[in-house]
Symmetry: C2
Subunit: 226 residues, 2 copies
């Protein structure tokens, strides 16, 4: 897949005229990463950011004891590590591919030059950062104000929406990674999946999950109770 068609499908470059897209493509450098290879790490100096071309990238924080909290999982078209381009200069978290991935690297200076002369690009970037801020408000809300069952129910409903299927979802990440995304550990996640199965809310078969009681899941997601 050629760079320009990847770029044109990315929200960041949405609506740019072909000549501008060409300019953007000019400064992009493709880089390939193997599964679990470190793309960047928390506190590291950043001289550019990435856009995912293929694969999925996990962005996460680590505790001093090595526990992991996933902040985002980014797929094709999404920018990764753009925060230090605009403030702070160092990456705010770690990034690693969940699978073999191809990224496009944008050097900071060259990208900022494009931004300065390209209003639609800047507005797209504002929209993306705003969307992420909104996502973070939800994540903080989940971590602080909801218990694990509520977060899990919310995530399953989110997946159902994303996958356009009210009855059934496929987990696209391992249960261990899901635990880390929800701010818990695999043992706890496993127990709660069992409880939700026993309560008749869901059916579980490996990474394939049936949503048997959407009503109940919604209740659980918002109030934490059935």
């Amino acid at each position: 897949m050629d760079p320009v068609s990847i770029l044109s499908a990315a929200p960041l470059f949405d609506g740019l005229p072909p000549d501008q897209l060409e300019k953007v493509a000019c400064i992009a450098l493709p880089k390939d990463f193997k599964k679990d290879a470190l793309i960047f790490s928390d506190g590291q100096d950043a001289d550019g950011f990435y856009v995912v071309a293929q694969g999925r990238i996990k962005v996460f924080k680590l505790s001093s004891e090595g526990k992991e909290q996933i902040l985002h999982i980014f797929g094709p078209g999404e920018p990764v590590g753009e925060v230090p381009v605009f403030s702070g200069g160092v990456f705010p978290a770690n990034a690693v591919p969940l699978e073999k991935s191809r990224l496009l690297f944008f050097p900071k200076k060259a990208f900022v030059r494009l931004l300065e002369e390209n209003t639609p690009l800047v507005l797209n970037m504002l929209a993306i950062l705003s969307r992420r801020l909104r996502q973070f408000t939800v994540q903080v809300e989940n971590l602080s104000l909801k218990e694990v069952p509520g977060r899990l129910a919310g995530y399953l409903l989110f997946l159902a929406q994303e996958q356009n299927n009210r009855q059934h979802v496929e987990l696209s990440i391992s249960k261990g990674q899901l635990a880390s995304l929800l701010g818990t550990i695999p043992e706890t996640l496993s127990r709660i999946l069992s409880k939700m199965k026993d309560a008749g809310l869901i059916g579980v078969n490996g990474s394939s999950i049936s949503l048997l009681d959407t009503e109940g899941l919604e209740m659980l997601a918002e109030t934490g109770r059935l």
Copy 2:
């Protein structure tokens, strides 16, 4: 205090030439709010955002049982509620003044018009949103990967830095509000303050706190242990 001098001190309008500042001032509408008066609420349609002129604004989420998690506390010069200007259209949280406050309201449409023709303004906005994203990564890290004593130690060190005093800090918010900021409840906060006092880390006298063992506090903040 006249609007233009408030604006010129705000990071968002930093570096703008006087004529541009004048244009910005033209679209700003001052609004006064009493303590605890609702400025906007989670999910409400937004037709603009605010910049704090005087006072402090608390931005927070509420759980279904009424527990509160503070996301930010904003002071003079800081923008509040700007996310829906660029994406989503509705406020992602609630906002209320901690004290009688004056805000400047910027209507969405007029502000976006200014943005489109004012590159420095846009870059300032990108910097502000990026800084907030970075703050959120820290908040998620704190909530998910640290226990309350570690979060409290981190906050005290943050205050010490902010107040330029390594030995002593003043809490500028009530302990109840501090609990909500740290993602806990007043009872727990009170107990942990006592424990930290007993451990010789701090001295507590109302809202005045002495940092007796900065070393120990730093340890606690990063590893969670002494």
